[in-house]
C-alpha cells in the first residue's frame, strides 16, 4: 500500500526525503528503546466502583445498595467475594487468564467531590488540584528518556496527564472533510523552509500513516459519529495496533466519559451497563489489536477520579463519592486476583456515613506499576513522577518480574 507519506515523498523528491529521514534523529540510535507498554484509560465522571465490581459476599451489600444491587446469579463471580458486572463479560476471561487485577475500595488522596479538581490530581500526580504544571505520564516519558514518538494520546485534544515538557503526540479521527494529497504535498513544499513547521508536519504525516494502517477509512473520517462513546472501542483497537508496532508509541492514553450517573443509572441494563460494556469491549479490542507478543509486555491502568455514594440517591442514581474500583489489565500482570483491604459496608464502615471507605491509595497502585514495569526507583518516583508522595507508599507484586 502506498502511504500518504510515501506519496508525498515521491512527489517532492530529495528535499522531502531529507526532512523525513532526519525527523526522528533519536530513533536511529535508540537501541535501548523500551519494549514495555503502558496504557492509561481515564474513566471521566466518577465511576460507580461497586456497580462495576459488586462485593456480593458482603452481608450488607444487598440492603445497602437497594434498588441498585445486582443479583448474585447475574454477576460474573470470578471471585468468592467480588463479582464483575455482567456487561464486563469480555473481561472475565482476562481475569481467568491472569491478565486482570481489580483494586476495590481505592481512591486518590482527595476527599472533596469536585470532578475537575479530582481529575486534575489524578492527571497531575499532585497532592493539590493545581499543584503541578505537567501531567505524570509526561514526566514518565522524561524519566525513561522517551523519544518524540514514545507517547500518544488518543482523543480530541491533549489530556492534562500528557501535558508538559516532554514531546508527546495526540491523534483523533478527523472531523473535517478530507483534503486530498495535492493540497498536502503543496503544504509540505510551503513548509519546507520553516524548520518548526516542516518537522511537525512530517511527524503529523507519520501519525496519519499509522492511522491508515490501524484504523479503517470510515472510522478515520467519521465526522460527528466519531465523537460518540462508540468511538472508544474503535480507538482502543487502534491503540492496540499502534502500540504493537516496532517504532510505534509505548505509552498511550484513552478516555471514556459518561460515568456521572446521578439519575437512573440502571442495574443489569441501562446507562451504566452500556458504558461498562463499551469499556470492556474497548479493552478486548485493544488486546486483539496488540497481539500476544506486545500484550505480554503491557500494563493497562483504568482509573476514575472518584467513586459514588454507596447508597442510591432519590433518583435511582448515585452522587459523587470517594472510593471506587481501579482496574489493571495486560499480559505483564501477575493477575487473576483482587488486591484489596475491604472496609465493609456497615453504617459505621462508610466514609462520612455515605461513601465506600478508601483503603488503598490509587497513587500507590500507579507507583507500584511504574516501579516494577520500568524499574524506576522509589526515590525517583517520589521525586519526579509523584512529588511529595513518600507517604502514599507503593504496592508491590502487581507486575511479573
Amino acid at each position: 500500500m502506498v502511504t500518504r507519506r510515501d506519496f508525498i515523498k515521491g512527489m517532492c523528491g530529495a528535499a522531502a526525503l531529507a526532512s523525513t529521514v532526519s525527523f526522528y534523529p533519536s530513533l536511529a540510535f535508540a537501541n535501548v528503546r523500551t519494549d514495555k507498554r503502558l496504557v492509561v484509560v481515564l474513566l471521566r465522571g466518577g465511576m460507580d466502583g461497586m456497580a462495576a465490581l459488586a462485593p456480593y459476599g458482603d452481608k450488607n451489600y444487598q440492603s445497602l445498595r437497594g434498588d441498585l444491587s445486582l443479583n448474585k446469579d447475574v454477576l460474573l463471580r470470578v471471585d468468592p467475594f467480588f463479582g464483575l458486572h455482567p456487561s464486563l463479560e469480555p473481561l472475565a476471561n482476562l481475569y481467568k487468564k491472569g491478565e486482570m487485577i481489580c483494586v476495590p475500595a481505592s481512591a486518590l488522596p482527595y476527599r472533596e467531590r469536585s470532578h475537575f479538581d479530582a481529575q486534575n490530581m489524578l492527571e497531575l500526580g499532585s497532592s493539590k488540584p493545581h499543584g503541578l504544571k505537567s501531567g505524570w505520564l509526561n514526566r514518565l516519558v522524561d524519566t525513561i528518556n522517551g523519544d518524540d514518538n514514545m507517547a500518544l494520546a488518543f482523543g480530541q485534544g491533549m489530556p492534562t496527564i500528557m501535558r508538559g515538557h516532554a514531546s508527546v503526540n495526540s491523534w483523533a479521527p478527523s472531523v473535517l472533510p478530507d483534503v486530498g494529497d495535492d493540497y498536502l504535498s503543496l503544504i509540505q513544499k510551503v513548509y519546507a523552509n520553516d524548520k518548526l513547521f516542516s518537522q511537525n508536519f512530517a511527524r503529523a504525516m507519520d501519525i496519519q500513516d499509522m492511522a491508515m494502517d490501524a484504523v479503517s477509512g470510515n472510522e478515520r473520517k467519521m465526522t460527528r459519529k466519531s465523537r460518540s462513546p462508540q468511538a472508544f472501542v474503535t480507538m482502543a483497537g487502534a491503540a492496540g495496533q499502534w502500540l504493537a508496532k516496532q517504532e510505534g508509541p509505548r505509552i498511550a492514553t484513552l478516555e471514556l466519559g459518561g460515568w456521572d450517573t446521578h439519575v437512573g443509572q440502571g442495574t443489569e441494563g441501562g446507562r451504566l451497563a452500556n458504558n461498562l460494556s463499551l469499556f470492556a469491549r474497548g479493552i478486548g479490542e485493544m488486546k486483539q489489536g496488540m497481539g500476544q507478543s506486545a500484550w505480554s509486555k503491557t500494563v493497562v491502568i483504568a482509573l476514575t477520579e472518584f467513586g459514588r455514594t454507596a447508597r442510591p440517591n432519590g433518583n435511582r442514581g448515585t452522587d459523587h463519592g470517594t472510593a471506587s474500583t481501579a482496574f489493571l489489565f495486560g499480559g505483564a500482570l501477575r493477575g487473576g486476583r483482587m488486591v484489596h483491604k475491604w472496609p465493609g459496608l456497615g453504617d459505621a464502615d462508610l466514609y462520612e456515613g455515605r461513601d465506600l471507605r478508601p483503603t488503598i491509595d490509587v497513587n500507590a497502585i500507579v507507583k507500584g506499576v511504574l516501579h516494577e514495569h520500568y524499574g524506576i526507583s522509589q526515590r525517583t518516583l517520589s521525586r519526579d513522577i509523584y512529588p511529595n508522595s513518600q507517604n502514599s507508599g507503593l504496592i508491590k507484586g502487581l507486575v511479573r518480574a
Binding site: H130, Q156, S170, L176, I187, Q208
Partner: protein
C-alpha cells in the same frame, strides 16, 4: 529603525486584509499609537445584561433541582454563546485590533474557565466586559481589584466558600478557609510562582480575603453583586510578606492587593508575560528589564506599558517569532478575506474552535492558555490547522487564484516560496487554504 507593517498587523493586531494592510503600511507605528489614545473605546459593543443580573441567573442554577437545573444550564450556555459571538464579531470587524488583543491577553492572565464549573459559562463574557476591558489601558491595580471583586472570579477560585475560622459564621458553622483564590492571586496574577512567599503567606492572605463574596439574591430584589460580608471575615490584623495589615473589613484586602500590584516581583512577572506574548517565546532580558522599569515607574500604568512595548526595538527586530493561537488563526482568516460571519454562522465557528481546542474561557486551569509554540503545534494540532484552513477556504469559495490577495497581505514579510506555490495551486480553494496555512500566516 523600520516598522514592519506585518508585525503591527499580526503581532499587535489580529491580522489584516488587503485594504487594511495598505493603511497600516503608511505608518505602522502611528497606527498602533492611535489605538491606545485616551479617547479609545475599549468596550464590547452590543446590548448585554450586567454582572448582577447574570450572577443571579447563575445562583439559580446552583440552587435548582435536577430537571430545572438542566434548563437553566442551557439558558446559561445560550448566553455564553451569544457573548462569545459578539466578542468574535468585534475581533473580526474592529479597526482597533490592538485593544482586542490586549483584552484577550489580560483576560487570559486573569483566567476564568468554565472547565470544571460549567455553571459559570454565562458569567465569563460579562467578567471580561466589566472587569477586564475597562482597564486594559488603565491601572493594573484597578484591574486586579475589579477581577478579585467579580463574582466570576470569586466563584471560579472558590472564595465564595471561604469562611474565616474565627469569624462569627465560622465559629457557628465549623466551616473553614479556602486558600485557592489567595494562592492563585499570588502565583498566577501578581508575584509569580516561587517568588518569595510561603504557605503561611497564602494562609494569611486567604484570611484577609475572607468575606469577599457574592450577595445572595433577596426576595424583594437585589443580590447577585459583590459584597464584603463582615460576619464571614476573619477578624484581627494579619502579616503578609512581612508587612502588618491592621485595617478593618474590606480595606485590609484592598491594601494587600494594592501592595501586591506594585510589588517588584509583580512588575517582573507581568513584564515577562508581556514580552513573551509580544516579542518571542523566550524574550530577550533587555526587553523584560525595560518593561519592568516601565511598570514600576508608571505605577503599573497599562497604557504606558503598551506604549513601551510598541516603541521597543526588540519587538521589531524579528519578523515572525510567534505562533498564532487557534483562536487568533480563525479570527485572522476572517479578517484576511473580509468575510462576513454569517457566511459561516457562529455555530460552525464555535465547532471549529472546539476542534482546535481553543474555545474562549475554557482553559484547562486557572493558569489560562499557554503562550508558547510548543503548546499549540502538536502534530495533531498541526493537521487540524491544515485541514481547517482548507475547510474554511471551501466555504469561502474564492473565484480566482488568491495570488494578489497573498501578495498584499504578506507584504512586509519574507514569504519564501509561499507565493510561488499559491500561484501554482490547482484551484482557488487550494490557493486560499495554502495562504492561510502558510507558516507566514500561521505566525505573527
Amino acid at each position: 529603525m523600520s516598522y514592519n507593517p506585518y508585525v503591527a498587523a499580526h503581532r499587535f493586531g489580529l491580522g489584516s486584509g488587503a485594504e487594511e494592510i495598505k493603511i497600516i503600511s503608511k505608518d505602522p507605528k502611528s497606527w498602533l499609537h492611535n489605538q491606545v489614545k485616551s479617547e479609545i473605546d475599549t468596550s464590547l459593543k452590543g446590548s448585554f445584561k450586567n454582572t448582577q443580573a447574570i450572577t443571579k441567573q447563575v445562583i439559580k442554577i446552583r440552587r435548582a433541582k435536577t430537571k430545572e437545573r438542566k434548563q437553566l444550564m442551557k439558558a446559561g450556555f445560550d448566553l455564553y454563546r451569544h457573548e462569545m459571538e459578539m466578542r468574535f464579531k468585534q475581533a473580526v470587524a474592529t479597526n482597533t485590533p490592538l485593544i482586542e488583543r490586549l483584552t484577550m491577553f489580560w483576560s487570559n492572565h486573569f483566567a476564568v474557565s468554565l472547565k470544571g464549573k460549567p455553571y459559570l459559562a454565562a458569567l465569563t463574557g460579562v467578567y471580561e466586559r466589566e472587569a477586564i476591558r475597562p482597564h486594559v489601558l488603565g491601572k493594573f491595580s484597578d484591574m486586579l481589584l475589579s477581577v478579585v471583586e467579580h463574582p466570576a472570579m470569586l466563584a471560579y477560585l472558590d472564595n465564595v466558600q471561604s469562611i474565616g475560622p474565627n469569624s462569627i459564621a465560622g465559629k457557628r458553622r465549623g466551616k473553614g478557609l479556602n486558600e485557592n483564590l489567595a494562592r492563585e492571586i499570588m502565583e498566577l496574577h501578581t508575584l509569580g510562582v516561587d517568588e518569595g512567599y510561603s504557605q503561611d503567606d497564602v494562609i494569611e492572605f486567604a484570611k484577609i480575603l475572607t468575606g469577599w463574596t457574592v450577595r445572595p439574591p433577596k426576595l424583594f430584589g437585589g443580590g447577585g453583586e459583590f459584597e464584603f460580608i463582615e460576619r464571614i471575615h476573619e477578624p484581627d490584623k494579619r502579616v503578609l510578606l512581612g508587612k502588618t495589615y491592621n485595617q478593618k473589613g474590606q480595606d485590609q484586602g484592598i491594601a494587600a492587593l494594592n501592595d501586591l500590584a506594585k510589588h517588584p516581583s509583580t512588575a517582573r512577572f507581568i513584564a515577562t508575560k508581556l514580552a513573551r506574548h509580544f516579542i518571542s517565546d523566550d524574550p530577550p532580558k533587555s526587553a523584560i528589564k525595560k518593561l519592568e522599569r516601565s511598570f514600576l515607574n508608571s505605577g503599573g500604568d497599562l497604557r504606558e506599558l503598551t506604549l513601551t512595548l510598541i516603541n521597543m526595538p526588540e519587538v521589531w527586530e524579528q519578523q515572525l517569532p510567534k505562533i498564532k493561537t487557534p483562536y487568533e488563526m480563525v479570527v485572522a482568516s476572517f479578517r484576511a478575506v473580509n468575510a462576513p460571519i454569517k457566511k459561516v454562522g457562529f455555530k460552525k465557528i464555535a465547532q471549529s474552535l472546539a476542534l482546535l481546542d481553543h474555545l474562549p474561557f475554557q482553559a484547562p486551569s486557572p493558569q489560562g492558555w499557554p503562550d508558547r509554540a510548543d503548546d499549540w503545534l502538536s502534530p495533531n494540532a498541526m493537521i487540524n490547522r491544515v485541514e481547517w484552513c482548507h475547510a474554511f477556504a471551501q466555504v469561502m469559495r474564492p473565484k480566482e487564484n488568491p495570488l494578489e490577495l497573498a501578495q498584499s497581505v504578506l507584504s512586509g514579510v519574507s514569504s519564501g516560496d509561499t507565493l510561488l506555490w499559491i500561484e501554482r495551486a490547482p484551484s482557488p480553494v487550494d490557493g486560499l487554504a495554502l495562504l492561510l496555512a502558510s507558516p507566514q500566516w500561521q505566525r505573527r
